[in-house]
C-alpha cells in the first residue's frame, strides 16, 4: 500500500504512495489517514500530533518526547491493510460559484488560451464530479479535481500578490478555493460566497475535507450578493 516510508526530520514520517496522482492513489492515503485517526482516538497509538494527507503522501508528525521514528515505523509495518477500510462519505457538497465580473479575474485569458468561449468553459467546469484530495496550505483551503483534460492550465507566470478570499482557481487537473486573502498563482475563474473555513466550528472548521465529493452550482451576481451575507 505505502510504497516507501522515510523520516522527515526527527519529528515526522514521510509516507509515499507512489508517483501517480489520481483518485485511486489518494483514496489509499485517505484510508490510512482515517485508520490512524481512529487508532489515535482509541488510544492504541501514542505521540502522534498531526496527520497531513495530500495527493500521494501522508505525513505523520509526532512528539519526540513521547515516541520516535522507529516505534511508529514498526506500527505501520504491522498494519494489515486488507483489514482497514474507511469508505468515503457519500455526501456530495454543493458549492455555489459566480463566474461573473468582478470575480472571474482570469476567465478572458483562459478562454483565449484554451480557444473556447467563456460559456463553454463554464459548462465544462460545471459538468465535473469533483473529489477533495487535500485541505491545507492556508487554513481550510481545499484542493479538488479532476478537471476535464481540455481545461488544464499552468500556474500564472507572475503570481498575484493578493487573491481575494472566496476565489476559485484552477491549475492542471486541480481546482482550489482561497479561504483567506492570500498571495497565489492559480488561474481565478470565479468566487464562492460560502464561508469555507469557519474557526467557530470546533469539530469541522473546514467545510471541505479530504475524500469529500463536490458539485459546483452556477450562480449569478445577484444570487451571489444575496448569499454573501456576513
Amino acid at each position: 500500500m505505502i510504497k516507501k516510508v522515510i523520516n522527515l526530520g526527527d519529528t515526522a514520517l514521510h509516507c509515499d504512495f507512489g508517483d501517480i496522482v489520481n483518485k485511486e492513489t489518494n483514496s489509499k492515503v485517505i484510508n490510512l489517514f482515517r485508520y490512524l485517526t481512529d487508532e489515535i482516538q482509541k488510544k492504541k497509538i501514542e505521540g502522534i500530533i498531526n496527520l497531513t494527507p495530500s495527493y500521494n503522501k501522508l505525513i505523520i508528525s509526532y512528539d519526540l518526547k513521547i515516541t520516535n521514528y522507529q516505534k511508529l515505523k514498526t506500527f505501520l509495518d504491522n498494519i494489515n491493510y486488507k483489514d482497514i477500510n474507511f469508505p468515503s462519505k457519500n455526501k456530495v457538497i454543493e458549492i455555489p460559484v459566480c463566474y461573473e465580473e468582478p470575480f472571474c479575474l482570469d476567465l478572458k485569458h483562459i478562454s483565449k488560451k484554451l480557444k473556447i468561449s467563456n460559456e463553454e468553459f463554464i459548462n465544462k467546469h460545471l459538468s465535473g464530479d469533483y473529489f477533495v484530495y487535500m485541505t491545507g496550505f492556508i487554513a481550510g483551503m481545499p484542493f479538488f479535481g479532476d478537471l476535464s483534460k481540455d481545461l488544464y492550465l499552468n500556474r500564472l507566470k507572475t503570481p498575484r500578490v493578493r487573491v481575494p478570499a472566496g476565489s476559485v482557481g484552477i491549475v492542471e487537473q486541480f481546482c482550489n478555493i482561497y479561504t483567506f486573502e492570500s498571495p497565489g498563482g492559480w488561474n481565478i475563474i470565479g468566487k464562492t460566497p460560502l464561508k469555507i473555513f469557519d474557526k467557530n466550528n470546533y469539530l469541522e472548521p473546514a467545510m471541505l475535507s479530504p475524500g469529500d465529493q463536490i458539485k459546483i452550482i452556477r450562480i449569478s451576481l445577484k444570487e451571489f450578493e444575496k448569499l454573501n451575507v456576513k
Binding site: 526530520g9 526527527d10 496527520l51 497531513t52 503522501k57 508528525s61 487535500m134 485541505t135 496550505f137 487554513a139
Partner: protein, 317 residues
C-alpha cells in the same frame, strides 16, 4: 487581589502575540501547530512565575510593548535577551534583568525596549492572562486569524486581564542563564536531497547562508550560493512540519517556522534537528548560519539531552 486587575497596552510593539505550546491534530484542516518560537524561553518564563508550563505568555519580536498595570499588584518575568525597564508610579526607574521575577503595583509600567542580538522575548505573569482558547490553545495565528486576541497582534489600547494569583507570597527568583551558542544549525537529510547536484549537496554543508529580512513566524528566507536543482523545481504538494528546509526555483532555501503553511510544493533538501529549533528562531537577519549534517539517531539523542537540560533548569528554580 481583585479579578479586575488588567494590563493597558500603551504601545503594542512590532509583533507581539500570545503563545503557548501550540495546537495539535488540525493539519488536515490546514492549521499549523504555531506556539512559542523559542520554546525553551517560553518554558522558563512560566517556571519563574511558578505557572504550569502550558500557561500562555506574551511573545514579542525586537521592540516589545509598553504596558501599565491597573487595579492590583502582580508578579511578572521576562525571558530571552531583552532590554526593559520598570517605571514605578512615583517615576522611579528600575533597569530590568531577564530571567528574574518582579513584584509590581497598581499604575506601574513595564517598558520593553528591545531584544538584544536575538529576535524573541517572553513576558509571563504569575497566574497567567485571561485568554480565549481555540482548539485547546491560546496561540495566536495571525495568518488564519485564530487564537487569542481574535487572531490578531497586540494593539494599542487593548486591555489584557490577569488571572487570580498568589501575589501576597511573592518570592524573588533569579536564574543565571549563559547560553554559549554558535551559528551552526544541525540538520537531517530531507526527502528530496537527491534533487540537487552533487556540487550543491557538498556546498550546502560547507558554505554560509545569510538570514534575510524576509523572515517572520511563518518562515525564514536565506540567501546563499543558489542551489542547483537537477530534477524538478516543483514536487507534488505535500505536508510540511516545522523545520523543513524548502528550496524554491531561485535556489535560495526557506526554513519553515512555527506558523508554516501545512502543505508545500518545493523540494525539501533537509530538516532542522529539533535540538536546534530554539537557537535558530532567535537568529537575527544578517546572521550567517552553517548547516551540519547529523543522522536520525544522533538527532534523537541530542534532543533528549536538550530536554533533560531544560528540565534540570526548571527543577532548580
Amino acid at each position: 487581589m481583585s479579578n479586575n486587575c488588567y494590563l493597558e497596552i500603551i504601545r503594542p510593539g512590532i509583533n507581539s502575540t500570545f503563545q503557548d505550546k501550540g495546537r495539535f491534530g488540525l493539519h488536515h484542516f490546514g492549521i499549523p501547530v504555531s506556539g512559542a518560537m523559542d520554546y525553551r524561553s517560553y518554558l522558563i518564563s512560566n517556571a519563574l512565575v511558578k505557572n504550569d508550563f502550558k500557561v500562555g505568555v506574551l511573545e514579542f519580536a525586537y521592540q516589545g510593548p509598553l504596558i501599565k498595570l491597573h487595579n492590583g499588584n502582580a508578579s511578572f518575568c521576562i525571558t530571552g535577551n531583552v532590554i526593559f525597564k520598570i517605571i514605578k508610579k512615583n517615576k522611579d526607574i528600575i533597569e530590568g534583568v531577564c530571567n528574574k521575577n518582579y513584584f509590581i503595583e497598581d499604575q506601574d509600567q513595564i517598558d520593553i525596549l528591545t531584544t538584544k542580538k536575538s529576535v524573541f522575548g517572553y513576558l509571563s505573569f504569575e497566574g497567567g492572562f485571561v485568554l480565549e482558547k481555540t482548539w485547546n490553545s491560546i496561540s495566536t495565528n495571525t495568518k488564519a486569524k485564530i487564537g487569542s486576541n481574535d487572531g490578531d497582534k497586540l494593539n494599542s489600547g487593548d486591555k489584557i486581564f490577569l488571572k487570580k494569583n498568589n501575589i501576597e507570597n511573592f518570592k524573588a527568583r533569579y536564574l543565571k542563564i549563559d547560553y554559549k551558542e554558535d551559528n551552526e544549525i544541525r540538520v537531517l537529510i530531507g526527502p528530496n536531497y537527491d534533487y540537487f547536484s552533487k556540487d550543491s549537496q557538498d556546498r550546502f554543508f560547507k558554505e554560509d547562508f545569510l538570514i534575510t529580512n524576509l523572515t517572520d513566524r511563518m518562515g525564514m528566507r536565506l540567501k546563499g550560493f543558489g542551489l542547483e536543482n537537477i530534477k524538478s523545481s516543483n514536487i507534488r504538494s505535500e505536508g510540511i512540519v516545522k523545520g523543513v528546509i524548502q528550496v524554491p526555483p531561485d535556489g535560495h532555501p526557506i526554513i519553515m517556522l512555527s506558523d508554516y503553511g501545512t502543505i508545500g510544493g518545493y523540494p525539501k533538501i533537509a530538516n532542522v534537528a529539533s535540538v536546534d529549533y530554539d537557537k535558530l528562531a532567535q537568529k537575527i537577519p544578517n546572521t550567517k548560519i552553517k548547516f551540519k549534517c547529523i543522522d536520525l539517531l544522533e538527532a534523537e539523542k541530542l534532543y533528549k539531552n536538550y530536554q533533560q537540560d531544560i528540565t534540570k533548569i526548571i527543577n532548580d528554580i
